[in-house]
Amino acid sequence: MENQDKWLLYARQQSRSEADAQDLLQESVLAIWQQSTAKAEPHLPHAGAVFTAIRFRAINWARASDRRERRNEEYSYLVWNNQSGANTYGEDEQRMLLEALRALPEAQAETVTLKIWGGLTFQEIADICQCSINTITARYRQALLKLQRELKGTFSK
């Protein structure tokens, strides 16, 4: 379960609360696992399949429970690991980055999350988001441009 942190991060990005994110991840892993056991080929869930399942469920939840409104502003899906030595940057820099990421449109934030912290290729992200690879690369570039503009001078080594 080496990918669980990535999955949970994406689930947080796709949901509106920590409880929702955890439910989303748990249900997605369970669904993937049940599919594999139904085929009598039990195997650990494939990372891409879990990302897809999370996205699919998040959309369904939104449809089913009228969760179309934007995420609660107080809920930060990007919660950094501040344990000793885990991150290179200080809390102020992290907060700046968090604010910049939160200012991104949902689709761009999703692309950045999957690319940077999910470790996926553009093609894999395109498959998950069910759109073309050109759309994904364009979203990614736009997102980075915005972040660059927002964070100019913030990250100084």
Binding site: M1, Q22, D23, V112
Partner: protein, 204 residues
């Protein structure tokens, strides 16, 4: 142009490195334990972190909605049977088997979304002999309905087939119903058909 593209990409690489240096928060141990339990045992782990499973509609599996619908239809069926068994025997004796009633087409029955899952599977798989099926349905009462699965074992021992003049008509109706049940999509029309077939109108 190429140079500017190169600068552009290198700037992005720097930003990407900065972003990657931030590590997301680790998964809570409780959730890790649940995920490991799912993948190690292969058993369903339905306990939720929110703890409000039955108060939250999105947590209800769509399959359960089918079961709820099946239960409601079963209740309707039992009610119909109860009414049947409350019918005075004098009226039963005067049952008009030739009275006309409209059968829904197989396509009508198949096209509906609700699945009468449990009972349909039991009926479709457990009753091959349609005469016996007819006799069995006629014999079902409120108590037996709940134990239909086990009762199926005794189907063969039920009363003899219908008289020849009734047999063709009943077989036709039974065929329609059995096909609908076997198709996996029996619905309220199928139940209505079953009721109409096995609990036909009586002459007053």
């Amino acid at each position: 142009m190429k140079e500017s593209q190169s600068n552009y990409d290198s700037e992005f690489q720097q930003l990407e490195q900065q972003l990657r240096s931030l590590k997301p928060a680790p998964t809570p141990p409780e959730l890790t334990r649940k995920l490991l339990k799912i993948t190690s045992s292969g058993q369903s782990s339905n306990d939720r972190s929110s703890g409000l499973l039955f108060l939250n509609l999105r947590n209800i599996n769509p399959r359960n909605i089918f079961w709820a619908a099946a239960a409601m239809l079963a209740l309707a069926f039992v009610t119909t049977s109860a009414l049947w068994f409350k019918t005075p025997q004098s009226q039963v004796a005067q049952t008009d088997y030739s009275s006309a009633f409209t059968l829904p087409s197989l396509d009508d029955v198949k096209g509906k979304a609700l699945k009468f899952v449990g009972v349909s599977k039991i009926i479709a798989s457990g009753i091959a002999d349609q005469d016996a099926a007819l006799a069995f349905f006629k014999s079902v009462d409120k108590g037996q309905f709940g134990q239909m699965a086990s009762s199926l074992q005794t189907v063969k021992a039920l009363p003899p087939p219908l008289p020849p003049e009734r047999k063709e008509e009943v077989l036709k109706k039974t065929n329609v119903m059995m096909e609908a049940l076997a198709s996996g999509a029996p619905t309220f029309p199928a139940l209505a058909l079953a009721s109409a077939t096995f609990f036909p109108k009586t002459k007053n």
